[in-house]
């Protein structure tokens, strides 16, 4: 499966990641790290009311964490914070358990191959963990 995973949209997103860097004047931000490989990532957000106006992610990491961060930013940007939180939970359930992907997360499907690949699920979750942490801030 490895080859497929790397050939898919995943590689595209890691080669040409969306929404990289930092939001100019973030209202919310958080970091997350993967102790297994030392990868680190920072999510910065600008919320207007309950609306995620802008998302940026600064990643130093593997292809999976880069692609997952890029996909996350595209999915979340322009949506409500509570939706973003729900998607983070749904993505975790899909990756760590048996739950199916909701339609909103369809673009993440290639990464769902990691389901039976516990050593890498952390990479695919990293950006979402940081997102949850950022949105958890009051």
């Amino acid at each position: 499966m490895s080859q497929d995973l790397y050939r898919a949209t995943v590689l595209e997103h890691s080669r040409h990641p969306q929404n990289t860097g930092r939001v100019a004047h973030p209202t919310h931000q958080a970091r997350a790290a993967n102790p297994l490989c030392g990868d680190e990532l920072e999510v910065t957000l600008r919320l207007t009311g309950q609306h995620v106006e802008q998302v940026r992610v600064a990643v130093r990491g593997c292809v999976i964490s880069q692609a997952s961060a890029s996909l996350m930013s595209v999915i979340v940007q322009g949506h409500r914070a509570d939706e973003a939180r729900r998607w983070a939970g749904q993505w975790r359930s899909a990756l760590e358990g048996e739950a199916d992907l909701p339609p909103d997360l369809e673009s993440l499907r290639p990464l769902l191959e990691l389901r039976n690949h516990r050593s890498r699920t952390g990479c695919a979750l990293l950006a979402w963990v940081a997102l949850e942490r950022a949105l958890g801030q009051t």
């Binding site: 102790p35 039976n116 050593s119």
Partner: protein
């Protein structure tokens, strides 16, 4: 007649002959024999999936990690734990109890605090508390054996007071065969804010119980007494109780971040499992539970009937002194006894000559032996594969022993 034919065929060692006789294995309390499925699980692991765990990226390591974690889930299910994260793999009951003694009691108790245990305990559920008490300045109080040769539960309850921080007690005694009524003990302990740690070494394969229903805080088991391999066992802990356990070993796999002078521990349960674990043995313990669980009801019924049968036959042996309760409803299939004028080691030796394997000695219960007024006893113990024939051969053997040795 009670028959175990359906199980016996699953245990290859029962084909062994000892001094030309078929093996009557009556030392299952020391360690159980292993079904073929467990032995094969080891072979399959090493022939197909062997790799170190700790999340190597490649296929074999993923497989080994998945098998290891799946074994953890099976142990959790067997004990009735809510989550696999409540299970820490250890070498066995002894290491599990010592982990609570050093990692919990060792860092939390203070002079004036009290640990309550009992005179009935196996050394593995006594010496760790002696060590923790010496180390912290806490004191250790032991509930006594009652006149009926069962634990004096009233006395135990009376020892639990405002200074009690920990109560350590076995679920099934490896000498008396008694099953401790834990309900009131746990309630009393919790009422004074004490933790309860249960030694379930003898219970895990022979009693139906559930850590949720027991409501104990910690519970220890050994894989090798549960039809699994040597080298693996488990500590169950309620999540908040496990969180209170300080790691007593440092090393690979248990950290999140390491600096030159300090380290930040990783999450449970890995935090308490430093170093490469017994991966294959854990997997084979999982296989043992896969074997046992669908048969559990039948096995327990079989063991109960056989316990009643053995009790009746042993009590009929002239002069035999049986220790512990005489009623089958009260006891597990563990029988400590002596013959008048016969040294238990001599008896065990002569019985071995007839293929009957049972233990002689203090059974790691010296304080209990002294209470019973002996230095050693014989001990016969049963398991899923034990048969009436095993019991009959023991009883017949005891006659020849008496004829040969009794003064």
């Amino acid at each position: 007649m009670v028959e175990a034919a359906s199980f016996r065929g699953d245990f290859p060692i029962l084909q062994r002959r000892i001094h030309g006789q078929p093996l009557a294995y009556l030392d299952s309390a020391a360690t159980t024999q292993k079904p073929r499925a467990v032995i094969e699980a080891l072979t399959v692991f090493y022939e197909q999936h062997n790799a170190n765990v700790h999340r190597g990226v490649y296929t074999l390591s993923e497989e080994a990690s998945a098998l290891y974690e799946s074994a953890r889930a099976k142990v959790a299910r067997h004990l009735g734990a809510d989550s696999p994260r409540s299970i820490v793999f250890t070498r066995g009951t002894t290491e599990a109890l010592n982990l609570v003694a050093a990692g919990w009691a060792g860092s939390r108790l203070r002079p004036g605090d009290e640990i309550v245990a009992t005179e009935v305990e196996h050394h593995s559920n006594l010496i760790p508390w002696q060590m923790a008490a010496r180390h912290t300045g806490a004191s250790l109080r032991l509930a006594r054996l009652g006149a009926d040769q069962t634990l004096d539960v009233g006395h135990l309850l009376s020892l639990i007071g405002p200074r009690t921080r920990l109560v350590a007690v076995s679920l099934t005694s490896n000498v008396l065969g008694t099953v401790t009524p834990l309900g009131e003990i746990v309630a009393r302990a919790h009422a004074v804010g004490a933790r309860v740690v249960v030694d379930a070494a003898q219970a895990a394969a022979h009693l139906r119980f559930d850590v949720r229903a027991l409501d104990c805080d910690f519970l220890a088991v050994s894989g090798h007494k549960l039809y699994g391999p040597t080298g693996i066992g488990a500590l169950y802990g309620k999540p908040d109780c496990l969180e209170e356990v300080e790691p007593v070993q440092g090393g690979g796999g248990m950290i999140e971040w390491v600096e030159a002078q300090t380290a930040r521990w990783g999450p449970l349960p890995a935090r308490l499992e430093a170093g490469t674990p017994s991966v294959a043995d854990a997997h084979a313990l999982g296989a043992a539970l896969d074997y046992l669980r669908p048969r559990m009801e039948e096995a327990l019924r079989h063991e109960q009937r056989l316990t009643a049968y053995a009790l009746e036959r042993l009590l009929a042996v002239p002069g035999l002194t049986l220790f512990g309760p005489k009623k089958p409803v009260l006891r597990a299939g563990v029988f400590a006894f002596n013959l008048p004028g016969v040294h238990p080691h001599d008896a065990a030796e002569l019985l071995d000559g007839q293929g009957v394997a049972l233990r002689a000695g203090h059974h790691c219960c010296q304080p209990l032996m002294r209470r019973l007024g002996v230095t050693a006893t014989l001990r016969a113990s049963l398991a899923i594969y034990s048969s009436t024939e095993d019991v009959d051969r023991l009883v017949a053997g005891l006659s020849t022993v008496r004829a040969a040795l009794a003064s």
